[in-house]
């Protein structure tokens, strides 16, 4: 549904986005991550048709952006990071304007629907210049989905929302993803796990990772590990049986001690192998590095 090939954007001598290539299919929610200034918003702005790429092509649903920008824009719902609004309009008037701009036959009806979906009834008749940051985000989100587009580009959609509102929007994005291709740019890594089926991490304008949250963890040495609780005197035998070193983590249950070993192997399997060697294992579980650590590791190494 979304195809970006060799996307590059230069601002004078600065290359903000460098040869970025990816595709997003319907049903996918792509988390677009990266440090500040990595080129996330610039990429989304190119995909939305606001900025013209210095090189590369964009195709939405098979239509080339350069050849048919208006046809492409009809298929995109875009929520800019800056949540811009016309201050002199009420929330309802703003949504009606966006709906009419998308050529909706029943713009008024759709406005009522998205007001309900994004929970905007309280500010329906309020001037957008006077609403809170949270409402600004939700109003921009409502404007992005008003024409039920097959592609959603959301630049930090939960910025400024309280935890309850964040959950609502994440749930909404997950619900919408069934029949849409969605790209979400965000800084919040917990959000990525909650709603994204795939991650792209950009650093200094280039893609440094394209995969899942677990792929991201694997980038950290020891990012995925197992934790086993065994008696301290069995440590050497366990290391021989498993063929790798155990690092002590601290006291465990029933007089055991917890050890960590760097492996992708499932804890149940490790426990079974220990049992075969006659070693009792009181506890076996997975340990995963926090995504923050993995993100820091990956983007720092590219600096």
């Amino acid at each position: 549904m979304i195809q970006a090939a060799g996307l590059t954007k230069k601002f004078g001598p600065i290359t903000a986005v460098n040869n970025v290539t990816f595709t997003v299919s319907t049903g996918e929610v792509l988390g677009f991550l990266g440090p500040n200034g990595a080129g996330k918003s610039t990429t989304l702005r190119m995909l939305a048709g606001y900025l013209r790429p210095s090189a590369g092509t964009i195709a939405i649903d098979g239509i080339d952006m350069a050849a048919g920008p208006i046809a492409v824009k009809k298929k995109i719902g875009y929520m800019p990071e800056t949540t811009p609004l016309y201050r002199e309009m009420t929330s309802r008037e703003y949504l009606l304007f966006v709906g009419e701009a998308h050529g909706l036959a029943d713009a008024e009806g759709r406005v009522e629907q998205v007001i309900e979906t994004a929970n905007l009834a309280a500010i329906r008749h309020q001037l957008t210049g006077t609403i809170s940051k949270g409402y600004r985000s939700r109003l921009n989100f409502a404007a992005a989905i008003i024409h039920d587009p097959p592609v959603l580009l959301l630049d930090e959609p939960t910025d400024g929302l309280d935890p309850n509102q964040k959950n609502e929007i994440r749930k909404l994005i997950k619900d919408l993803s069934r029949n849409k291709a969605i790209i979400v740019s965000t800084h919040i890594l917990e959000e990525v796990e909650a709603m994204c089926s795939r991650i792209i991490i950009v650093s200094e304008g280039s893609i440094v990772l394209d995969g899942t949250a677990n792929d991201l963890r694997r980038c950290v040495p020891g990012g995925r590990a197992a934790v086993l609780a065994i008696r301290p005197q069995d440590k050497s035998a366990a290391e021989r049986a498993l063929g790798c070193a155990l690092s002590p983590l601290g006291a465990g249950p029933a007089g055991c001690e917890r050890f960590r070993l760097n492996t992708d192997e499932r804890p149940a399997r490790l426990s079974a192998r220990l049992a075969e060697a006659g070693i009792a294992c009181e506890e076996a579980c997975c340990w995963e590095a926090p995504l923050d650590d993995a993100f820091r590791h990956l983007t720092r190494t590219t600096e």
């Binding site: 048709g49 995109i76 800019p80 811009p84 016309y86 002199e88 009419e100 701009a101 998308h102 050529g103």
Partner: protein
């Protein structure tokens, strides 16, 4: 609904809700009447015509029209709504046309609100309605030319004050060209070029109409100025998408 019409409607709604629009109309009417009756000594002239009324208009437009046009794009840029506009499936030419037409209609509304002076002239004497009609028509066309310049300068910057100043400077040059004041300073230029530059002045093209003569060349001239500066406006916005 046509994209231009959607933008036109949005902009007109903005004028209707904006206190600035009412302030502008009030100032325009106050200055227009002040110039005509006080500076122009309308009663003392003892003429049942709007010559005096029209003679001040280019100078009034010089400051008031850039004040209307300065926000058209600068505000969109500074508030970030340009990003919304550019990503809606409208097409920039339609958006430019819609914004320009809305402002031009607003100027027309302000111009028509000067109707009491027409009633006054008809009450006091028997003026020829021809020059009044052609004068109003050409005045609106000339206002469109001022406005197109303001649209262009507004697209250049996110700062409304800079937009205003640039617009006033460009329009001032167009006013001076009509007086031939540059002839003395530009006498090193070929005579043909000097004549061409003189022909670009706003005032001679406008004055013909206030005498009741509609010359198609004057109409084409003002329309050309409007189209030229709106094309420049589009080029500037196009350049923004590049950078």
């Amino acid at each position: 609904m046509q994209p231009s019409w959607i933008i036109l409607k949005k902009e007109l709604r903005g004028y209707a809700c904006s206190p600035l629009a009412f302030i502008f109309v009030t100032i325009f009417l106050a200055f227009q009447m002040g110039f005509t009756f006080i500076l122009g000594r309308f009663y003392e002239s003892n003429q049942a015509s709007l010559d005096i009324f029209f003679s001040f208009q280019p100078w009034l437009y010089l400051f008031l029209i850039p004040a209307i046009g300065m926000r058209l794009w600068s505000e969109e840029k500074s508030s970030g709504t340009i990003e919304t506009l550019a990503t809606l499936p409208l097409g920039m030419p339609a958006v430019i046309a819609g914004k320009f037409l809305a402002s031009w209609l607003f100027v027309l509304a302000a111009l028509l609100l000067t109707f009491p002076i027409v009633i006054t002239v008809f009450y006091l004497g028997s003026p020829d309605p021809g020059p009044i009609l052609t004068g109003y028509g050409m005045s609106w066309l000339m206002a469109g030319a001022f406005l197109a310049v303001a649209c262009f300068t507004s697209a250049l910057t996110r700062n409304q004050v800079i937009s205003f100043v640039l617009s006033v400077i460009i329009c001032f040059v167009f006013l001076l060209l009509g007086f031939g004041v540059f002839h003395e300073y530009l006498d090193f230029l070929p005579a043909g070029l000097l004549d061409f530059l003189s022909g670009l002045g706003f005032i001679p093209h406008f004055q013909q109409a206030t005498r009741g003569v509609i010359d198609l060349r004057d109409v084409i001239y003002f329309i050309s100025i409007i189209v030229f500066f709106l094309i420049l406006n589009a080029a500037v916005l196009e350049g923004s998408a590049e950078s």
